[in-house]
Symmetry: C2
Subunit: 420 residues, 2 copies
């Protein structure tokens, strides 16, 4: 594990990050004569597509996150180190972790993305984003606390800013958060307050572009916007945020006082990726070659949200789970072939399966090639796909049961305010 | 709600704390012509008897905690305020919360207990206790992180103190924690580490008295000690802790180096109770009259772990959930009768149903009057009783399923390291 241990008999593949991409890369190396070392600052792999359900009190963290070493338990050539990687030293062929250096023969950077505030990092304290379990618990705390504070203020007259929620960013995460806050306000909290009517909460979805869900078709985006409006979400497009502070957001054309502001507007690669040699795009992602390696460093690969790559048709490979998984599988296969002396596979090709976003109870938008689904059929398909892709029988069974219970009762199972 | 609102038509009963006692008191007032105000610093009621299962990664917090206002949703005369009560003003008949003063006509203090370090408050940072969901998550973090750190240190030679766990206090909580850490080490983490053998972890249960489980019979305590030993727990009785620091504990007759020390040795009433007028016992509990009121203040009641009361036979009413519930129900009934002009009920009498403690997979000790159960029968009874007393169909169903799954697979469902 340490720098001195570089003279291992089997070549060592170090994978930094155990998200969708890193985990898939590790698994693709299961049969190879290599030593796989997976390093992650967390002990768990997070199923990010359902993180918004933790943030909105529908699911517990453990329903969508699993210990990385449990997932790789049966892969004899893999070991897992829980530590933060602070730097890559391409010359010395080692990564520096908080627990010391780890030498590599082949390196896979799969550290994903973090929130981007477009140069306004001070906004983060007022408008948290949603990338980790901790983020989700913080957002859950803010949403539920807002209603509690409004109830406390009840006797002192209206305090509408306490039950005003602004979600910045009209992509799938923003749409899902806004829709779920609507469900909390209308359904889950019904009849539980004496001074306020949670259903009167104001939810504003702010999008700088001309429409929400820009990666979806115009028809699907319009359907989503209509349904959000029906659920009480005020959708504001062409609305550019110019400031965020403790009491709300300032748009180019006005101000919204809100105790709770959530950020789903932009992502950028983390510092580790930004520090890699070579070219980067504006979001700090590393420009990779057609085989996902870093130009000039055939032994370093960057995959998933940390990589910038255009498909042959010029469109960028999107920052979604299926893309990360395909990249991980590709790189794992490539390394296995390379280290066993076989010819490399042809250039990576991203295959886009489709786009999904859920809006709320009984409504989602789905595009799968020529097929488009909305409303209940879309929602059922969305639910089925997400349960299918959860890891392990237990998670599938428990999440499906949780959803069934919530659908029948309108309740949410994890309405806890924890932490500071 | 504010001080000015004292002129309410219905008398107001303020209940501070929504644990077993406070919640029961609120419910006992459901039919009374009063205004019930339940104030708690948390938004949730915690099922404390299963908190050790959250601390040992078996259950998620939401499986054993529910929003207080959800539990009181259908009780029309009750409202819930989430705020911390910082002081009681018996003269002005109001409690001071962080959100302002709240006037009362009748007051029920049900704030429970916190950990006691017997004057060594500096030990708390090194040896957290287990009273809240946050405590449980902190303990979970420490237990799971210890194994991760040991794995990281693996190449540098043995670091036995990293996988040494000391539990101080041989009551039910200490026994349950020690047994569950044994299960984690032997079963849940099996085959997941490459450098260390989790099953070689050292678990020491330290008890100052002559035996563990002092409230149980000698035979049951001996059975528990035997089973703990079989599960690899080193039980040390007559072992007095003289110091706790970042690297372990010092006993009167020796030193144990341990990265993880947990505290289950003593409790004391919180500051609010200690500041009440009147007599207090050594643990800061308020001495109450036979009707659970504060002598000289017939309008103030103290119940549950905050109250010191002896049964007619001289034995103190124990600090367990059934006692708190009985006290809550009694006080609710008493207040309802008093405010409707009826005669007060006879003095409170505690009825002891029994004692239960689980040791680990397939073993518990149970005493119900003349009946004593150990081993698997005890464990099945323990599980049944705890599922039965959980609140709501959902919690019962999910916890029972979680346990069944864990029993069959030997896994634990919530092995997440979260927080700082």
């Amino acid at each position: 594990m340490r720098g001195q241990a570089i003279a291992a008999v089997r070549p060592r593949v170090v994978i930094v990050g155990a998200g969708f991409g890193g985990l898939e890369a590790a698994r693709a190396l299961a049969g190879a004569a290599v030593e796989v070392v997976v390093i992650d600052a967390k002990n768990h792999h997070t199923f990010q597509p359902l993180l918004y359900q933790v943030a909105t009190a529908a699911l517990s963290p453990a329903a969508i996150a699993w210990p990385i070493r449990h997932l790789l338990k049966t892969q004899a050539n893999a070991r897992v180190l829980m530590s933060r990687v602070v730097a890559v030293d391409p010359t010395a062929h080692q990564v520096l972790t908080e627990a010391g250096p780890v030498a590599y023969d082949q390196l896979v950077i799969a550290t994903g993305a973090t929130h981007s505030y477009f140069g306004h990092d001070s906004w983060e304290a007022f408008a948290p984003g949603l990338k980790t379990i901790e983020d989700a618990l913080e957002i859950r705390r803010r949403i539920l606390s807002a209603f509690e504070r409004a109830e406390l203020a009840g006797d002192d007259g209206a305090a509408p800013e306490l039950t005003t929620f602004v979600v910045v960013g009209g992509g799938p995460t923003g749409v899902e958060l806004a829709g779920a806050i609507g469900e909390i306000a209308r359904d889950a909290l019904k009849s539980e307050f004496r001074h306020i009517d949670p259903a009167a909460a104001r939810i504003v979805l702010v999008e700088a572009g001309p429409r929400i869900l820009p990666t979806f078709s115009e028809a699907l985006a319009a359907d989503a916007a209509r349904r959000l409006a029906r659920y009480g979400v005020d959708v504001r497009t062409r609305a550019k945020v110019v400031d965020v502070d403790a009491s709300g957001v300032t748009l180019e054309d006005g101000r919204i006082d809100a105790a709770t502001v959530l950020w789903a507007a932009g992502v950028r690669a983390g510092a580790l990726t930004a520090d890699l040699p070579g070219q980067h795009d504006r979001a700090g992602r590393a420009q990779v070659a057609a085989d996902l390696s870093l130009p000039g460093h055939p032994e370093i690969f960057v995959i998933g949200d940390a990589a910038a790559l255009a498909s042959p048709d010029g469109r960028p490979v999107p920052g979604i789970a299926p893309a990360a998984k395909q990249m991980g599988a590709y790189v794992g296969r490539l390394i296995a072939r390379r280290l066993s002396g076989r010819s490399p596979p042809p250039a990576f090709r991203y295959r886009h399966a489709g786009d999904l976003a859920t809006i709320g109870r009984g409504a989602a938008v789905v595009r799968l090639g020529a097929i488009q689904l909305t409303g209940l059929p879309g929602w059922l398909f969305w639910g089925f796909i997400h349960v299918y892709f959860l890891i392990g029988l237990r998670a599938r069974f428990f999440v499906a049961l949780d959803w069934l219970w919530s659908y029948v009762t309108y309740h949410r199972g994890a309405r806890l305010i924890t932490g500071a």
